[in-house]
């Protein structure tokens, strides 16, 4: 019998709470993502020195930092299940959809925490125009959701492969290119002073990308998970 929508929502929430509790116990993914993000940001800031970069380069730098920080920790959610041998039990006790949505939500929370810390630091360390921060927030939100929705399925794939670390970025990058390019272009426009109303097409694109990635992942996830 297929689970009812209410039942599915509860199961997703249970999954999410379980993962959050585990994460708070060892803080492995959180530490990895945060330290990677801050280190990269510091390297960028040091190497720029006193030079004032034009705004359109700053947008690219910001999303490069975000992409590689995300790559350092988002796969952990599935690798942990395989490493600790709990994947099999999870497969028996929860439907694949609930597992996927739970892990997707967890990754979104993880990346939101990263964004909340990296973004203010980025504006402090570089000469990015603070006045654009307000219009930058919707892009940040959609960027975080888009990054997670595209990489969570890849995380599930590489958790089952032999070499995990390097493969995650290699497999994710071609999938993420359209998202990353749009985010960079949009951020450039915003840093150069245009308002949210000028980037409506890009916002629609980001929403469409997110929806397609989540639907595609949900359709394909059971093949990865129950194989």
């Amino acid at each position: 019998m297929p689970p009812t929508s209410a039942g599915l929502a509860t199961k997703c929430l249970t999954m999410l709470i379980k993962d959050l509790r585990l994460e708070l116990r060892d803080k492995y993914a959180l530490n990895a993502v945060l330290m990677f993000g801050i280190t990269t940001l510091a390297v960028v800031s040091f190497s720029l020195g006193q030079s004032n970069l034009p705004p359109h380069l700053l947008g690219a730098l910001f999303w490069i930092i975000m992409f590689f920080s995300a790559m350092s920790g988002l796969a952990h959610i599935f690798i942990r299940e395989e490493d600790s041998g709990t994947a099999l039990a999870l497969r028996l006790s929860a439907p694949p959809d609930a597992v996927f949505i739970g892990k997707l939500l967890f990754n979104m929370i993880l990346l939101t925490v990263l964004t909340l810390i990296i973004t203010p630091l980025f504006f402090v360390f570089t000469n990015a125009p603070v006045s654009s921060l307000g219009s930058f927030i919707p892009i940040l939100v959609l960027g975080v959701i888009g990054l997670c929705s595209a990489t969570t399925l890849i995380a599930a794939i590489i958790a089952r492969a032999a070499v995990k670390g390097a493969l995650f970025a290699v497999l994710s990058f071609p999938i993420i290119i359209p998202l990353l390019l749009t985010l960079v272009l949009t951020t450039q426009k915003l840093f150069e002073g245009s308002g949210v109303s000028n980037v409506m097409t890009e916002l629609q694109f980001l929403i469409a990308y997110m929806v397609v990635m989540i639907v595609g992942s949900l359709m394909l996830f059971k093949f990865v998970w129950t194989e």
Partner: protein, 218 residues
């Protein structure tokens, strides 16, 4: 057997004619003869990747390893033809646009195609179990393929295309090429496609024998 001989004859005649007839494009001149080879290669790589995608879907439905073998075989051929198209395209670009690489939309998309299938083979190499490798790489191939419409939307916004859009058909879907050029071009297209299916067949059979020798049921 006869069709293999036919390929030999048609291909030889096509190659000779592609060099002795007047150059297809007057402004570019002699260098434009590469068009007889570059476009069929690009077409084959698209065809091969599309076939790989179909075999991946079929694998997920039927769970038979021979489907996965076919998906991998045609992806490998597609990768090879994609590399050939990239190299001939880069040479052509150097002659006509002045540099080997311009991040023209088609160059960008071909680069991303190479990245996707490079990642696909990296993934296949990283999994030792046959069923697991088949399922995971099929999922990856399908997932990567659904991002292609987004690329078509986003890539032309970065740099406008330098590729001609009217070299084969114009806006009214009429052929812009002269009769001789058209015959050489289409025979090249057909003969390249035939060679692709020949190579696909050979790879497929080799993989089948390999499985047989490893004593696995297909």
């Amino acid at each position: 057997m006869w069709w293999k001989l036919l390929i030999l004859v048609v291909m030889s005649v096509m190659i000779v004619y592609s060099f002795i007839t007047p150059a297809p494009q007057k402004i570019i001149g002699e260098a434009s003869r590469i068009f007889y080879y570059h476009i069929p290669q690009a077409w084959i790589s698209v065809l091969a990747f599309a076939m790989s995608m179909i075999y991946s879907i079929r694998y997920l439905k039927k769970r038979s390893l021979s489907e996965d073998d076919k998906a991998a075989a045609t992806a490998g051929l597609g990768f090879m033809f994609c590399l050939l198209a990239t190299v001939t395209g880069a040479i052509f670009a150097k002659v006509t646009w002045g540099s080997f690489w311009n991040w023209d939309p088609r160059e960008t998309s071909v680069f991303i195609l190479l990245l996707i299938y490079g990642a696909y083979f990296a993934l296949r190499g990283a999994i030792s179990d046959d069923d697991k490798r088949a399922a995971l790489s099929a999922v990856y191939a399908i997932f990567a393929f659904i991002t292609v419409p987004f690329l078509i939307f986003v890539v032309p916004r970065i740099i406008p295309s330098l590729h001609p859009t009217d070299s084969i058909v114009d806006e009214n879907m009429k052929f812009t090429m002269g009769a001789t050029i058209r015959i050489i071009f289409f025979s090249s297209l057909i003969v390249f496609t035939a060679i692709y299916f020949w190579m696909f067949n050979l790879t497929k059979r080799a993989l089948k024998i390999k499985r047989h020798l490893l004593n696995e049921d297909i």
